[in-house]
Symmetry: C2
Subunit: 379 residues, 2 copies
């Protein structure tokens, strides 16, 4: 966790209300990301006065975002009540993919309250995906009466423009220039964001998983449809000018290699993928293939590590399995292909969150505006 640096170009001024908004945001984020902290801990962490934390927490409780739980026994002195995220609020997370539409209700603290999945025989049209999600949402809402929906987030496997949530293209879904955000906000009746699924995963691992407390990390995710990724830079998710940043699957690792579906040759995901592993397993040459893929993965990681100088690299999906099987080889290849001493310091670790990763991450992204201004909500 490094200190915040000021932006190169100065922004706008702040007034007294801004101070309050910032402090409320700090507190609710702290509670949400840690899952609960005593008021005394919050006082220490924020550096604010006891009385200030008291009034701010009371406001957040009134707004229904946190509640004060029984104190835990600790040591000498008067026990401090534990401030926990409210249990009756949630974010709707939606993840349409080629073979299914997945929907989850994600509460504060990164807790998955409920989730549902509908298998599909073919990639869905945008409208169909939304209709299916809305259908599942109605069922989940009936099962959880009294749950207050704060926001909705849709994670799409493709290029999503951050500014307006336009899905510029999602090749596996065969979507082009699809605008889901408005229709979804209409359907769910809450503010809705659309984001890239890999970027959502980075956020989830960064806050609740293997990247906790790390301010500079890279994430490589291996799935059936290729290698996605993302980066956390100085504590914030890298989005780039349009929101397309983090396409590490298309780092060059072998110019003489195969043609990638993106039109170029020798991309990381043409050399490291599940199809090759399956073919090698069928041919009885899996060991050699895993060695080969470990080498290329280290090379691809090295390229990106040299650019970003992260303190951790998190591997998810089948890349986590590859790390388990060929950890030494990957590390050696990374050492050989990253600009030392960056490679010396970097830790390569498997992702900690399970399949809920994408849902938890996109819920976090949908929650971001609320966390930034906790009392701005309508009711």
């Amino acid at each position: 966790m490094s200190a915040q640096r000021p932006p190169l170009t100065a922004g706008r001024g702040t007034r007294n209300e801004g101070t309050r908004q910032h402090n409320l945001s700090t507190l609710v984020s702290l509670v949400h990301h840690s899952g609960g902290a005593s008021r005394a801990e919050l006082t220490r962490l924020t550096g604010l006065n006891r009385s200030t934390v008291g009034t701010l927490v009371a406001d957040l409780a009134t707004a229904g975002l946190v509640f004060e739980d029984e104190p835990e026994v600790t040591g000498a002195g008067r026990p401090s009540p534990v401030v926990r995220p409210a249990a009756d609020v949630a974010v709707l997370a939606v993840n349409p993919d080629i073979d299914a539409v997945e929907v989850g209700l994600v509460g504060l603290g990164g807790r998955v309250i409920a989730h549902d999945r509908r298998e599909l025989s073919a990639p869905p049209e945008p409208e169909a995906a939304l209709a299916i999600a809305a259908d599942m949402w109605r069922a989940l809402a009936d099962e959880h009466p009294g749950l207050r929906l704060l926001a909705a987030g849709i994670a799409v496997p493709g290029l999503v423009r951050t500014a307006d949530g336009l899905v510029v293209r999602a090749p596996h879904l065969k979507w082009h220039d699809v605008d889901l955000a408005d229709a979804a906000a209409e359907a769910f009746q809450v503010p809705t964001v659309v984001r890239n699924d890999a970027r959502a995963s980075v956020v989830a691992e960064s806050i609740f998983g293997a990247g906790r407390g790390v301010s500079d990390l890279l994430y490589f995710n291996g799935s059936a449809s290729g290698i996605g990724g993302g980066a956390v830079v100085d504590g914030s998710v890298l989005v780039g000018a349009d929101g397309f940043a983090g396409e590490f699957g298309h780092t060059l690792v072998n110019p003489g290699g195969e043609v990638c579906h993106c039109g170029r040759t020798g991309c990381l995901e043409t050399e490291v993928n599940m199809q090759r592993q399956q073919a090698a397993a069928d041919a009885g040459t899996l060991d050699a293939e895993l060695d080969r893929q470990a080498s290329y993965l280290g090379r691809g990681m090295g390229n990106v590590v040299s650019a970003f100088n992260p303190s951790s690299v998190v591997l998810g999906g089948f890349l986590a399995d590859l790390l388990e099987a060929r950890g030494e080889e990957i590390a050696a290849s990374l050492q050989g292909h990253a600009f030392a001493p960056m490679a010396d310091e970097v830790r390569v670790v498997p992702a900690q969150l399970g399949d809920d990763r994408v849902l938890v991450g996109v819920a976090e992204l949908a929650l971001r505006p609320l966390l930034a201004d906790p009392l701005a909500q309508a009711s």
Copy 2:
């Protein structure tokens, strides 16, 4: 200029004094980066009240950081005095390199007040470089009596750890684990920072050059000693976990190519460099060599562009010359080697600042703490 995103992990609380500090910082940064703005403009840009801007500017003027100049004729209404950066304060910028030590006095607004350069027959030892710089500083100080030194910055061609300014290694200077910061602060009697020279250049181009107003950009600099670089992400310079981020010269572009001095093969800077151009010119095959280098440069840029999704790529040093000579070819290669549609949107432009770039940039980095808390200075 995109909006600020909150960090993934919440930080500390703010008090009322923090509001004032933030507003002072906003104002002085605005004046410093724009070179001067009327109080009315500052009011509009910050969104603060007229009276607030009035008192804040008065405080900054008392601290000797800005002064109120004669109003410029504009239109109807009472003219607004122009707030300009103070002319009698400066930052000492030092840039030791293999063949010379360069020293500059950089004022607010990015103005180079004076500079001096001492040629060397061999790369200097750290102590010698510092002694030479101190000598030149004394001469410059004598020429500019009344100039108040605010800070000092040393730009080193090598890996510099941001946390403490340790020069981990600077191969061309043959420096290893050199700690200059303390000795320099002692010699110059002001707070001193040590930074990488390419990172300093990025800052300079980002604020005063080709990257003005761009929040996501990449910078590739070609010099006699190789290709350095850096990135601006969401308005802040990318530093990474240790401060080593941005080594784009060692992006893989040709695995079958030559062995790089870094120990690997096919790095961008083994394929694109001045030595090859010189050799080709001697052999009468310069045209073909420029085509070849343009192709490899586009490939290397494409790799990094796919990871960062910048809106601009700035080329400096001999790469700016290559852009002038082979702009079409570089653009075509970038198109072919970056993940579309990132390549469609990116603008490739030459650096705008001259040789003062490194000095201006490292001065800016040295000034950063003061800009963040303008009235914290001793006197």
